[in-house]
Amino acid sequence: MRRILLVIPFLMILASCTPIKLIEPAPQKVGSAYIIHPTIAWNGLDNTMFPSISENWTADGFGLNGIDFWHDIENDKALYDHSGKEYPKFRKDMKATEVQELMVSSLTKAGAENVQATNLRPAKFSTADGFRFDMTYSATNGLHLRRMVLAAIVEEKLQIISYWGTEAHYFELHVDEVEKIMASVELI
């Protein structure tokens, strides 16, 4: 309850001057780590006003679906840094199984409930040997969510492209487009 009340003023501020930018269906650079090629327009959070470890886009609204791009996560850094919590940290010698565990614990710590990860398998991240897995969890508001993750550790830094959406309707809506984005990734 306390958390919701504290978040409301923040969301009001966010709504009044939300730094949303249009992401054109054209090559997009993610940090200095990789380039992706979306084929539809997305709405991106402009992180120059609210700095974040990841870049975040949505097609239908940030409560419904989105893509999170983490890039160049270094040894001993976490995937989240908000809420004054101690989030688990990435280690440069992690294997795919351990990155999957890191993602599960990070989401759990961020407030997601009943986080499950399945189907961990090898996959290419551009030219690098990476891996993919699927996730399900519930948000604190009870919404059931799905997430798919493509990741790789390249030169000791973690790169992640992760698409999520509500189990009902919004996840399926852009899966094909996200598959194209994941297939289009080019390491810089």
Partner: protein
């Protein structure tokens, strides 16, 4: 200086307004009673009924009939007159928690059940929550906050006018934090009444302070940032343990026929333990969880699920000595238990690989697939094996 004087005056006015707010007398709720439809209490019930409805359909509630029958049975033993008014929901969530809504919906987290050792301890937690219901603490608290918040709006406006808005914000934070739970006095009253009720129902009262001892140990070992500026509004676990210890002393010599219910409790909850441990590991508060698992191991040494959980916590924390310690614990699980999970082999392999012991890693990954050829992650494990060969 003048600014400080003005600020002091405003503080006095603001605090005075808060203090003027009356919460009124709230009598304990009678068995079967529901609030009159025209009252603020009925409005509060309506809100929590909506939340209860949402919880029921959320998939977070453990529906196992035996577990639910067991917990409900203890509630009815503790408060036979209110038995029909209470609905207990065992909620899948790690962490030590139980809560009570004003309309009789009680939430018991699986993380709490994982931590308790016997029925007497569970009876103490349940009787504490039942006391919140009987004494209508939620509605008292709600009226108190509503009145406080009205005072707060005035305080923020006045402080903002003289250019000290940040202080207004700080006061807002303090008030919001106090909304988080029952007040210190209410918690103390629920502790006292809960203790009385569990003792009257025949449970061993010496188990009540022990629960708080568990919490103190976990809190001290936790990796989470310590304390909050506003935690003074709630009694600390240490104080609650001392107070309950004192109450046990005051009871004098105790008879030998008091209910502990350790065997019964274990029989009902044991089959869920692996799942609850998995949830605990996911939270990644390694210090807290290792203290918990070590305590559970004292009572059930050699249990495969506990040893696996401890190994997972050590491996994931990954400090210098942790990896060797994790290997030892995994090996203990394999030696002392026939029902250790096949994932033990995968974890051993990951540790060896991290330590550069590729031959051992390869062998352990192969053991994992031999034990579990259709593992959900068999594709990545086969990839690991080909990298190691």
């Amino acid at each position: 200086m003048a600014g400080i004087k003005g600020l002091t005056a405003l503080l006095i006015i603001g605090l005075g307004l808060s203090a003027c707010a009356s919460t009124g007398d709230v009598k304990p709720i009678a068995p079967g009673e529901r609030p009159e439809i025209s009252t603020d209490e009925a409005g509060l019930w309506m809100q929590v009924e909506r939340a209860e409805e949402k919880l029921r359909s959320s998939g977070k509630v453990v529906t196992d009939p035996e577990l639910n029958r067991y917990v409900n049975g203890i509630v009815c033993r503790l408060e036979p007159d209110y038995c029909q008014d209470i609905r207990v929901y065992v909620v899948n969530a790690a962490g030590f928690n139980a809560s009570m809504s004003p309309n009789g919906a009680m939430h018991v987290w699986t993380g709490l059940l994982l931590r308790l050792e016997n029925e007497a301890q569970l009876a103490n937690v349940l009787s504490h929550e039942l006391a919140h219901y009987r004494q209508r603490h939620s509605v008292q608290r709600w009226r108190d906050i509503r009145d406080k918040t009205d005072g707060l709006v005035f305080f923020q406006l006045t402080t903002a006018m003289v250019g000290v808005a940040p202080l207004g914000t700080l006061m807002a934070l303090a008030t919001l934090d106090s909304i988080y739970g029952f007040s210190r006095d209410q918690e103390q009253e629920a502790d006292d009444l809960g203790f009385e009720r569990m003792t009257a129902a025949g449970y061993d009262p010496r188990e009540a302070p022990r629960i708080w001892g568990f919490l103190v140990a976990e809190k001290e070992a936790s990796d989470a940032p310590k304390g909050s500026l506003f935690t003074a509004t709630h009694p600390q676990s240490e104080d609650r343990q001392k107070r309950l210890d004192q109450q046990v002393q005051e009871l004098g010599d105790l008879t030998n026929d008091l209910i502990l219910g350790a065997e019964n409790y274990t029989a009902i909850t044991r089959r869920f333990r692996s799942e609850w441990l998995e949830d605990e590991v996911k939270v990644a508060d390694f210090g807290r969880s290792i203290v918990l698992v070590d305590r559970l191991l004292e009572r059930d040494p050699g249990a495969g699920d506990l040893l696996f959980a401890k190994g997972e916590l050590l491996r994931r924390r990954g400090k210098e000595a942790d990896l060797d310690a994790a290997i030892e614990v995994y090996q203990s699980a394999m030696i002392s238990s026939d029902d250790y999970p096949p994932e033990v082999h995968r974890s051993i392999a990951l540790v060896h690989w991290t330590q550069g012991q590729n031959v051992e890693a390869l062998a352990a990954f192969e053991d994992y697939l031999n034990k579990n050829p259709n593992a959900d992650d068999h594709l990545i494990i086969r990839d690991y094996i080909s990298q190691l060969k």
